[in-house]
Amino acid sequence: MQTNQLLAMFSGSLLLLGLIAYLLGRSKAARVRASGASMYSQPDQYAWFTVLSTAGPALAVGAVASILMLSLGAEVSPLYLLIGCLLVACIGLVVGIQMVRPNFHARQAIESVIRFILAGAALISIFTTLGILVSIIFEAIRFFQMQNFWDFITGTTWNPGASFLEAAGRAKEGASAAQFGSVPLFAGTFMITFIAMLVAIPVGLLAAIYMAEFAPARIRTIAKPVLEVLAGIPTVVYGFFAAITVAPIIVGIAGFFGLEASFNNALAPGIVMGIMIIPFISSLSDDVINSVPDSMRQGALALGLTKGEMIRDIVVPAALPGIISASLLAVSRALGETMIVVMAAGMRPNLTANPLEDMTTVTVRIVAALTGDQEFASAETLSAFALGLVLFVVTLALNLVSVMMIRRFREKYRVNNL
């Protein structure tokens, strides 16, 4: 039988049993109450308790059993599993109804179950992080069994070319051995990130200073949501814009100065990524600058500083931890940004300091490795996970440092809303 049908049958019969449980539980509670006993909870609460005692264990057994089956590959017929679960549900129903007694605290029982469920939901975010970590690490380990870790970190040639032949057991036919030296990828990533930051940090920070210190309230209320539109544009759109509009302009300008630029140059994705990040930096910096206490501004002005000097010498240094924190978060975003570079940066791993040449990034290679028609176990496919692992570690470190910086700022000025 189809899995879908089984699932439908399971949920259907569980719903039916739940309904029966609700009706039986309520009628029993109502009967007991009518007989004059004083009960701790309302009939409805007893009814819901029987529903929980029916469905809860059955669902738990079903979930655990199916995960075990999937992970261990045990050959148990799904039909037996279904019958087993429904049996558990029936037992739960009987037990639940048995427990409907005047001195049973149904409301508290429901509450503790709900609390348990809520805590379970909160755990899912932890499981997600663990899932990312475990899935990446396991595949990365498989990669490092094939390739030397040290070569991966320090090698300067990224040429996965013939690795699919190795995976197919035809290594001898390959023209050249596959090489996985990730240095050019990281160089490209850092170059594009650097260009992006060159655009985003000055513009974002100055825009934040204007909004927080100079702008009249009306401009502020318009400018903030307008900037946020920049943040809401999908990255695939930015990528298209960088590749179709910005790159040719850059090639044209470079040609005007007698320089030769590639159409996949690093400058176009860098600049567009910087523009994408502007609202991120400006809104965070704006918050930080706004939470610098006014007494500091008043003190500075009272000592005879001009407004510009006050901003430069008092407000910005005071807000610095928050500004650095925003910038670090922005760097972590730029490192992990995918679509802009996939569409506008090159595919060729190229170790160069010239931003007009084409270069590639970590995320581009991850996408390239996973969208080819490669066998999953090939070194090229698995290299995506090794690159992903490095990306995870780097962005995690940046995020943690940034959280620490903002916490320091918050403690210094006792701000609550950051």
Binding site: L70, R107, I110, E111, R115, L118, A119, A121, A122, L123, S125, T128, I132, I136, E139, V203, G204, L206, A207, I209, Y210, F214, A215, A223, P225, V226, L227, V229, G232, I233, P234, T235, V236, V237, F241, I244, I275, I278, T306, K307, G308, E309, I311, R333, L335, G336, E337, T338, M339, V342, I366, V367, L370, A384, F385, G388, F392, T395, N399, L400
Partner: protein
Amino acid sequence: MPQSFDDISAQLRARHRKSARLKWISMGALGLAALFLVLFFADMLVKGLPAFQQAQIQVEVDYSEETSKMPLKAVDRDMSRLVSRGFLRLIPGRMKNDPELLGTRQMEWVTATAEVDQYLKGHYSRLKDDQKAIVDQLVDEGRAELRFNSTFFTSGDSKMAELSGIASAAMGTVLTLLVTLAVSFPIGVMTAVYLEEFAPDNRFTQLIEININNLAAIPSILFGLLGLAVFIGFFGMPRSSPLVGGMTLALMTLPVIIISTRTALRSVPDSIRHAAFGVGCSRWQMVRDHVLPIALPGIMTGSIIGLAQAMGETAPLIIVGMVAFIPDVSASLSDAATVLPAQIFTWAGEPERAFIEKTSGGILVLLAVLITLNATAVVLRKKFERRW
């Protein structure tokens, strides 16, 4: 050296000039960002608006026994190069459905090829000079014109630019977002309720909190790797399906929903909780009957923003294979599907000029939907904003 009054006032003027300069520079920075926004939208509109029009030409279609076997012969040889092959292929089927057509010749408006389309729009076209002359003549006779391109909204992807549309991608987006919402909304709200209303302040809670903030800053492509390894690799869910894509996006949207729900819950004043406890509510009854209904608009706002973010996301979906070529609209959660951003990505990779237009057109549709979603969120927030 003593300074004269003039020296001092000159210094002062210089200092004030410097201050004013900072003001202008910072204003310029904001203006630069705004300028970019304007340029960007102008560029997309110029490139994308033509996608909503499509060249149609009027030709005489021959419905005969012969053309039912060789549909390419249904129109004049000169014209058949100008008519979309996608239309000609449909001719035998139409004759089967409508036997009365057989043996007639009819003048019909049909979709022209992308090359004719580009030529009429004044772009570079690969038409030969004699073909261009025919098209010019057709235009003079009023037998060729640009019309509203309904195909763009009703058909799926196609290798022929004139026949490709966003319908299948739109359907895929809807299905994927449904899965995303169905998974992330309940889990997100439940997590936020637990953290705000139930959890004691201990190590475990702090761990969850740090973790959620960290999750919000993890690059989206890593979620794609998670989806690939766990949902497809471990649980064996169907590749390229809205189910896998939606669940991957759900895990990504989770932190957004949790964080905004917590803010909404926190803005509910404690007096409401005290009153609920005062009349004998339990903690859950207090949350369910009093706090959640008050916080609901805030929760909705956050969820809409999270959903809009998920809708624009491409990288993780590429990793789980949702860049498939999908010509037909399918309404199944487990079939291969594609979403709007992925469709845009696919079209952006096509070399033909006509596809650049399609890409920009798709972008316009996507941006319109996203801006509507975000505006809805802003309006919701404004409408239900409450000062306690």
